[in-house]
């Protein structure tokens, strides 16, 4: 982005200096995580003999995609300097709304899917609106939303369905076509590639394009880096933040529909705790907790690391009691590696 085509004169603005391709690569936020991903892959390829099977890689990719779909917009939000702790339960809410609306109204399933999109975007707008109006930290705002949604999920489902899971909508009109869109899979040989992998790739591509090629992307970096300075130079801080929360809500809707159409019944108590996994994936991928730095591709690499670890431990036949310990250790290692790579990159500038 800095290449201007002119040879750098000794007294030009330093921002217009040409950088060598290698140095550009070293400066990428996701470099550390890519190194980490390769290391994790090699590690499990050695210790778990069934890890390298084609069908296993399909399973790993699927696990990564369910996290990655959410991690991409969460990464953008974190670059914008904010948190969303309600992202995990919002996925469940979205699935519940879709399913219950279709069932209770005896409507075509697509109607429920569409209503769910509107309501879920409403949750995102609520997060963004509360944040910009109250000036409270997003950690507190979304913690409140998280608890409220958890209660709503359970309370509403019980009120409407009489139990804690929704009624089946598998025999309703539009279900099959919706399943094709949100939860189908493609079998090549003995590899099963789920459609979520496509959704994930698309979302990461869009997020990357927004960050690198659009004005909105610059605003995200500016707002996350220094909100007051950004406001002073005319960046619409409020609109940017609300937009970021809408992005997370949209991804939550996609994940929620996938959940619903995979199993056609939704358990209302699920999704709690997943929001942290999305944040972890973004952080492993090079996003700074403090905002202003990171990338969408990094979040995808983070999700792949997470998927490889969570399934690799099972393929390696380790005792699952230790799973969380390894996950925590990996998170620390990956983040340390990131910090180290970034320091090196900045030192060579």
């Amino acid at each position: 982005m800095t290449a201007t085509g002119q040879p750098a004169a000794p007294h030009t603005d330093e921002r217009l200096l040409r950088t060598s391709p290698l140095r550009k690569l070293l400066g990428r936020p996701e470099l550390g995580s890519v190194v980490g991903a390769v290391a994790v892959f090699l590690f499990f390829a050695i210790v778990a003999d069934s890890f390298l099977q084609a069908s296993s890689l399909g399973t790993v990719l699927y696990a990564a995609s369910t996290i990655g779909i959410m991690a991409a917009p969460v990464a953008l939000l974190m670059i914008g300097g904010e948190f969303d702790l309600s992202a995990g339960v919002m996925v469940t809410s979205s699935a519940l709304i879709s399913s219950m609306f279709s069932y209770q109204m005896t409507a075509n399933v697509w109607v429920g899917v569409f209503v769910s999109l509107l309501v879920t975007l409403g949750f995102g707008a609520f997060n963004g609106f509360m944040l910009t109006r109250t000036k409270l930290p997003s950690f507190i705002i979304t913690l409140g939303t998280f608890l409220m949604l958890t209660g709503l999920n359970l309370g509403f489902t019980k009120l409407i369905s009489g139990t804690v899971s929704t009624k089946t909508i598998g025999n309703m009109e539009g279900f099959e076509s919706a399943r094709k869109v949100f939860a189908s899979h493609l079998t090549i040989g003995d590899v099963e590639l789920k459609v979520t992998i496509l959704w994930w790739a698309a979302l990461v591509a869009i997020a990357t394009w927004i960050l690198i090629r659009t004005r909105f992307g610059n605003w995200i970096f500016a707002v996350g880096g220094e909100a007051d300075a950004a406001r002073a130079v005319g960046v619409p801080v409020i609109r940017t933040r609300i937009g970021l929360y809408l992005g997370v809500a949209f991804a939550a809707w996609v994940s929620g529909q996938h959940l619903l159409f995979s199993y056609d019944v939704v358990q209302s108590g699920e999704g709690v705790g997943n929001e942290l996994i999305y944040i972890i994936a973004a952080v492993i991928g090079g996003c700074l907790i403090t905002g202003g730095y990171g990338s969408a591709i990094g979040s995808a690499v983070g999700a792949i690391i997470f998927g490889m670890t969570s399934k690799g431990i099972v393929y390696a036949e380790w005792n699952p009691d230790w799973f969380k310990f390894f996950l925590g250790a990996m998170l620390l290692l990956a983040t340390l590696l990131n910090a180290w790579v970034r320091k090196r990159a900045e030192a060579t500038k």
């Binding site: 069934s50 296993s56 399973t59 696990a63 959940l259 995979s262 199993y263 399934k311 393929y315 699952p320």
Partner: protein
Amino acid sequence: MGAVLAAVLAASLAGCSSTGGKRAEERAAQQAAEGRSAVNTPRWTFAMVTHSGDGDTFWDIVQKGAKQAARKDNINFLYSHNDEGQQQAELVQTAIDKKVDGLIVSLAKPDSMKTVVAKAVKAGIPVITVNSGSAESKAFGALTHIGQDESIAGEAVGDELNTRKREKVLCVLHEQGNVGHEQRCAGAKKTFDGTMQNLYVDGTNMPDVQASIEAKLDSDKSIDAVVTLGAPFAAAAVKAKKTAGSKAEIDTFDLNASVATGLQDKTLGFAVDQQPYLQGYEAVDLLWLYRYNRNVLGGGLPVLTGPQVITRDDADALAEYTDRGTR
């Protein structure tokens, strides 16, 4: 760091207990027979995937039973668990990827497990369901189901309460929306001649469980029995009874060491056990029988491991095993 370590070592050497503790456990383990396989069949791999959360006592006992059978039957036994339906389904998928020789699953969330269990059956892996899912087991293509029929277990509780001449009973449900729990209380209501009320509490928060039961016992002095649906909650109910100054008898589903002692010292009336050890043990053993001899147990009906009503008379004999963590 070194100083701390030295202090800890010194302290632990200074005061030795001559009873109980780790050393007694080690001695008992030494006395127990060496686990060697008793068969000459090839080393098959069986995977067990359950809906248990992290660090669940009940499932720990199921695992112990399964591992014991695996030792005897020369089985490489793999265990994994997750309390989210989608994650549990993914774990079953990893077992299919590994091409295991047998699969044991619990169907607490049957809808999430439907597709992936069908996939395992299609791949030619024999499947046995345990603990929950007796209604779905057959339809999903499993060989058999091993567990307790919750309604029957509840009915046994109702009968036992009748023999104990109870009039007004409280049924404490600690997991909102757990269908099996609802069935237990409904079964008890069916056979019980007195009146029975349900009380919903938040099982993840013990102080809250105690406070809720306490409030209920305070407000209604005529309650003369409380039935909890899990061993840890019996202890909370006993505390609640003390503070509320109630005369109610505390009874519970499931068993653990403190329930066994509670039965012995009469703080608890009776317990209904579904023998988790047996669920794990039989699941592995029946898979082995199927692989070795195409035997299937149960004749198309679930194999029941409970209910077994345990009173003070049985508790003495069981204490040894609850301490060991296998009952």
